[in-house]
Symmetry: D2
Subunit: 501 residues, 4 copies
Amino acid sequence: MSKIVIGNQIQKEFKNNWKYCIGTGRLGLALQQEYLDHLKFVQKEIGFTYIRGHGLLHDDIGIYREIDVEGEIKPFYNFTYIDRIFDSFLEIGIRPFIEIGFMPKLLASGDQTIFTWEGNVTPPKDYDKWTDLIRAVTQHFIDRYGVEEVTKWPFEIWNEPNLVNFWKNADKREYFKLYKKTATTIKKVNSNIQVGGPAICGGSDEWIVEFLEFCEKEDAPIDFVSRHAYTSRQPNKVTPDYYYQELTNNTKMLEEFKTVRRLIKSSAFPHLPFPITEYNTSYSPINPVHDTVLNAAYLARILSEGGDFVDSFSYWTFSDVFEERDVPRSQFHGGFGLVGLNEIPKPTFYLFSFFNKLGDAQLYQDEHTIVTKRRDGSIALVMWNLVMDKGEGREKEVTFEIPVEASHLFIKRQTVDEQHANPWKTWRDMGRPRFPSREMVETLRGVAQSLIRTDHLKAENGKISITVALTKNEVSLIEIIPVNDETETYIGLDDSLITSY
Amino acid sequence: MSKIVIGNQIQKEFKNNWKYCIGTGRLGLALQQEYLDHLKFVQKEIGFTYIRGHGLLHDDIGIYREIDVEGEIKPFYNFTYIDRIFDSFLEIGIRPFIEIGFMPKLLASGDQTIFTWEGNVTPPKDYDKWTDLIRAVTQHFIDRYGVEEVTKWPFEIWNEPNLVNFWKNADKREYFKLYKKTATTIKKVNSNIQVGGPAICGGSDEWIVEFLEFCEKEDAPIDFVSRHAYTSRQPNKVTPDYYYQELTNNTKMLEEFKTVRRLIKSSAFPHLPFPITEYNTSYSPINPVHDTVLNAAYLARILSEGGDFVDSFSYWTFSDVFEERDVPRSQFHGGFGLVGLNEIPKPTFYLFSFFNKLGDAQLYQDEHTIVTKRRDGSIALVMWNLVMDKGEGREKEVTFEIPVEASHLFIKRQTVDEQHANPWKTWRDMGRPRFPSREMVETLRGVAQSLIRTDHLKAENGKISITVALTKNEVSLIEIIPVNDETETYIGLDDSLITSY
Amino acid sequence: MSKIVIGNQIQKEFKNNWKYCIGTGRLGLALQQEYLDHLKFVQKEIGFTYIRGHGLLHDDIGIYREIDVEGEIKPFYNFTYIDRIFDSFLEIGIRPFIEIGFMPKLLASGDQTIFTWEGNVTPPKDYDKWTDLIRAVTQHFIDRYGVEEVTKWPFEIWNEPNLVNFWKNADKREYFKLYKKTATTIKKVNSNIQVGGPAICGGSDEWIVEFLEFCEKEDAPIDFVSRHAYTSRQPNKVTPDYYYQELTNNTKMLEEFKTVRRLIKSSAFPHLPFPITEYNTSYSPINPVHDTVLNAAYLARILSEGGDFVDSFSYWTFSDVFEERDVPRSQFHGGFGLVGLNEIPKPTFYLFSFFNKLGDAQLYQDEHTIVTKRRDGSIALVMWNLVMDKGEGREKEVTFEIPVEASHLFIKRQTVDEQHANPWKTWRDMGRPRFPSREMVETLRGVAQSLIRTDHLKAENGKISITVALTKNEVSLIEIIPVNDETETYIGLDDSLITSY
Amino acid sequence: MSKIVIGNQIQKEFKNNWKYCIGTGRLGLALQQEYLDHLKFVQKEIGFTYIRGHGLLHDDIGIYREIDVEGEIKPFYNFTYIDRIFDSFLEIGIRPFIEIGFMPKLLASGDQTIFTWEGNVTPPKDYDKWTDLIRAVTQHFIDRYGVEEVTKWPFEIWNEPNLVNFWKNADKREYFKLYKKTATTIKKVNSNIQVGGPAICGGSDEWIVEFLEFCEKEDAPIDFVSRHAYTSRQPNKVTPDYYYQELTNNTKMLEEFKTVRRLIKSSAFPHLPFPITEYNTSYSPINPVHDTVLNAAYLARILSEGGDFVDSFSYWTFSDVFEERDVPRSQFHGGFGLVGLNEIPKPTFYLFSFFNKLGDAQLYQDEHTIVTKRRDGSIALVMWNLVMDKGEGREKEVTFEIPVEASHLFIKRQTVDEQHANPWKTWRDMGRPRFPSREMVETLRGVAQSLIRTDHLKAENGKISITVALTKNEVSLIEIIPVNDETETYIGLDDSLITSY
């Protein structure tokens, strides 16, 4: 059992960069009711500022079309669906983080696609028509939502062009060309719109360097530098239903953050913002780790420390309403979502919900703990007990000594662990029903609640001491709230006069 | 540790007579939004058939008024509010169980009142005007809601006329007169409406006998015989905020049920239905027992066995929106409600919610247990560990051996005890805030959830064995549901390939 | 001006066969929030019993998939989306009218498709896999929704196989084969499920005859005979945005109903039910007539008389959320919907809403009028002034003499015409905005209300006389409701004492 | 027919002082669901900033109570209900305009009461206990809602103390004493809270003068001077259901505004804000004028010009949920409400809704017209045709010549008149049902919609000309909105190809 003594001193600001942005399945899914229900659910409890996903220009939203006007083929820009989608986002209180892509079929130079939904990943066959499209889309957003609103939306060009399946041949030169033409077009519509790239996945950080060199040399507009981060190894088993991978240490992700930050600092644009526009444990939408308590315990440290190195980092994704690997084939299927099908929150949802209760004044931080003070003087801390080995046991006990100003404190602890807020466990108890009945869904929602325990403590010498036992991969939020004790106002109060008390 | 072996045989029908009716604060409160929110909440989870409360004819609803028409005073019947109230009830899916009373001020023969809200408890000063009123009200209900609907509403005449504070001088003769005139008037409007009385509280069962003799002799209409039942002793301490009483054994209430049933059986109307139109532990709306887990554990046996003796029994009341002892002065104040102020369910709410999951085929019953089979073949049981002594400890462990048809079973257990679904405990941790802030209310709602635990069992020799440990005054629902195990359909499934599993 | 004298005699039952079923865009769209909002809107006001649309087996819902299990390709049936869709329908209070089709890509024998969304219209390449699929789907519906529910759903095999674009080569023999195999498979799952076909469009009624001969000869199960009906001529102009056609007389549709009914009567199955599973003026989803008042006035006679000849007729479709001709490119675009994009009801919506107020006892009917008595004794009539010529004017005035029992009558008239409930007109005033702003949508919803006018009439000699002037293509509902006049109960009432009255 | 030529010049700012505050029935009614539904309805369409009503300290809310603590009587402040009420207001987006009153029974020096609900109008029997109460209440508001919020709430002391029925003996000296003690106490809790009085009704403006002299001489805190204004004469007939009065000219009210403003200007506090904290045509809650179109036409000029003279004026009241003259006895009963029982908006509701569309730049104003420009460049005008004489006819026609910048204009006109948005008229057609059925309510809601007419105009020489005919007592809003005409983007568009167009 370890003991942690918290001081009175504020160490530094705790930044909620984890809350800036959240990932989503392709934007066309945002027409769906279940998608929107999940988004409302997440926003009510957590409240991200931006949402980012693929497919703005994909053919299901159908912005780019061509029509035959007396024998001449002309572009037609159809905003019916994208208006409905962005209207929904803004109503729900979240802003688009624009990702420019993929290629409309009619503009594509090839037929290479990605995902079951067939996003075209080839360069435009006609860059003039492409920039016409970009101009029309950007201008339409301003016409509909106003300059003040749209200049708050970052515009990121393409997604992971360093991968051959996301960008034909991972052709760097072609990407830089696309970037410059697109970014320049957007800036011409309104120079205050923020543009950026290259949105690469890990493993090719030379792209960062070369991209910034290109921007400098070619005078391409650049307002931020983006990258992705996943910490899973190559798969060790792939089945029709699941994709299994081991995870590296979570510190690997933090190292990647630092590395890229250094690259930016030593570039011609040392002060550019650096958002991570996607991250998660595994990059596979059918890796069961996403449904587990482990996923939450593993990512806790990223939420705790990531903001020290990057300006924002966007969890991929908020919901299992997702189709990159086809329509989900089971209630739990290893999807990325904070929220599973049928609006069932997963353990990682609670990780975010717990961090959302932290204050902005950091009192203490270690690899398993973050302790903060909130504006109202109360204290909020999150603890986690990440155990990456197999097997039972591995509990952990910690005693905190915490300075407090009040004499009476209300203690509220919320817990997610193998036994609580773990619908995946109950779903297995149910025999892993692929298409659960209404009753099963009710049960799964019922168990998907964090355990709440409360207590009342009296300070001694301006301090309280709290001992917390954590089970394997538990994550707990503890709030320590000064009490205005009204007990004495109940004249003649005596609980012992209640039978059995 | 005890062991209970459940047989395959259905012992008898388990009747949900506990679900027939629920009590409410005076009907005028049903105009309030918080009242209606609580009622919707209760109906969604439990779904009582009828709702019964005082004050139909009280002046706040204002049905009876008089107007001066060119010097002559004439009655005016105002249905503005009662229509709104009954419209709300029917929309929410609950029917009125009519209680005729109290006396409109303008019709009263005296000024004796009861409760902070001053219900007048004196006989009418003019029985003709009274019967005119009864006729008009009954006819209006039929005009608005239809004969088919209104003939489903029981009409009970007055409330606890055997108490001097509810009926002037507890004048039995006067009550019988009121009863006959009122019941006869209602029957003249529509003879299919069910009428009854005498709605007495305990301790005067000679009223039952004499009332039935009166009906026989005087040929008064009578369709049911009603009575109330509370099991608390005289108060041992009364403070401005609380009223403390000890409880007798809960078997006393069951004895009272049997006694009155015997009296009816030996009367001239041996087959009359016998509803208990009010019951609870304490009859005081400021007795803290109502807020406790004990209250749930204590009443469990009543819900389990009460239906064997009475046709229905109506818990008093569904909500702490209640004003008999003035506007509640604190979040928890010992109110009768299943639901506390700010829509916070109390432990007894879960008792009802658990019983609502039982089937109608009883497999086993003892003083701490009821085991049933449901129509879909699953098994549901409720257990409780009532401990009326003070002090810690007093856990209990029981092993059930239960016959099952399926080979795999999903086990779902829901628990209310001192640590779970007990917002009263957390409220004390908070320093008993009288008027809690929004944040406090959120916490109280958060803790007011039953603990859900699930498991997966395999049958051996057509049986499963479940061992359950109950803490002091715990009530648990256990559902045993056949599993259609789909695990094998996931080709190559291997949870051990997930890091740490 | 004409005069119509209504008699007291009930002529016959007025059947609401128009209300049995409504058409929808492909089922995959039912995942969308806007789709579901429109459906709720329509059901609240009208309340159809069934909903029928294409695409149950289309790849966007994704029921049929194949997976590689250790080198062997096996079918996988994914019900994630169809469960969500049918759950939604049943929650909203409408049942599926199943249409079996189109062909999953992996089962298709060819690559011919129809519509922007590419429904495959070729026969199965393997009839065993096809019947396996049909069996699995039917069985799943029963597992999830119960036998009692599913045996209420008609199953119709394919759509318009007599057209080469809906069924490869319009191959009749192949269709009969598909029909028999499919219907037989369904009946094997549960013999009480109703199956039928051939769901042909007009112009090939020999299919009806041969289909019924086939069923007789081959002993194929057959519970109903279905057909479609549209009354528009070949297009006289086709533009990228609109498809223009003239309409024939609406009596042509009624003639078609009669013709097919005769064919059935003279077949081996003379008593089979005959549902029209699609009808409308134009069969094009971009014909502007659908947005007009004319469409309502034109179809009024079909709703009035169609039920005399067919067992049901299903308007195609309830909503402009529809993609057969791509994502709609403008607020109004000639879509089939009763409800336009952004939940704006069109004139034809009100036609249905008006007919929904009719009683089931017909007192009078002519080609412009239907007069009925309702169960509560009130009278409801719908009138229309169909004018298919161009130009202004063409008003019409009719006087009704109607027998009534009450002495005082409340008259409520609701009107849709060029000036009222005609958002298309206002949209043109706005400059035909393709993607209207929120404010514009509010205005369009505001104008899309029927005009309501009320009056109070006194009967003379048991009759009232009402003169109604109708503008060109107006449709009006008039309700004549007995009044219980309470005016005299207001003592001393004198409106003339109000300033200016 | 008159012609009005509007210039390009902005005459002055048009102030929406009419929107600052709205009156309500006693605050205790705000616990009711129907009350809150009406308030949401009004706020959605109009959006007042403050709400003011009687009864904060009345015994139904129950703030002031006394308890016996071991023989000693101590005050107890119960905030259960007032918290719920103010929570509701703030959630709905409206702030309390505090009115201090009436006297809790336990603090009252006498038993004189006002209204059916018996507000006590006597001075406190103990000014120390009174100021303790005021201090506790004010402090509680700050504790619960924060200083920033509460310092936005004006605190007005008492109501109409110049009337003997609102303040015992209309004792001016006693009022001044109450005022000073109360205002001083509030300021001691927080000196930024705004306090004011004397809240007199008309006819005693010497109170204004003497009150201000008192404040100066006695150094009493004073932040605003308030008064009421009604324009009805003495009743000419009073019946059990209705109270009939003639109205004076509406200019009388404007004269009163000016008079009091002059009195303030010549006082020692010349710059004090001057809110009218109540106004309406009649001061009686059973005067049928409130339900009529006349009421709207009459008040239009007050809304148009009132803001020139007073800082705010608060219409009395938003809803017919009101009990000063007992529970309403009929659907329409002459209540003050913008919204009638059963959430049916009355004509005056639309007057406010129309004014809510005006811009803040006034282009033109006369006694029947107000023309404004909005920030987005569109024009909005309200016209009314007040006719206080009896009889039919009295239509009016006006032609406007209005300068516009755009070449195409969309014209939207909304109308309330005898035939439209006049549910009172339809209710009379129905036979004046006191307690209408659900169906009747639906009809009344249906007719209570303003008529919307739209048009499209082309500018000529930078102007448009609009001719408007107004019926007797019509009020119309006309919006003139620049059109971005997209008609030409529909290639080959030809409406004449639609049958009959």
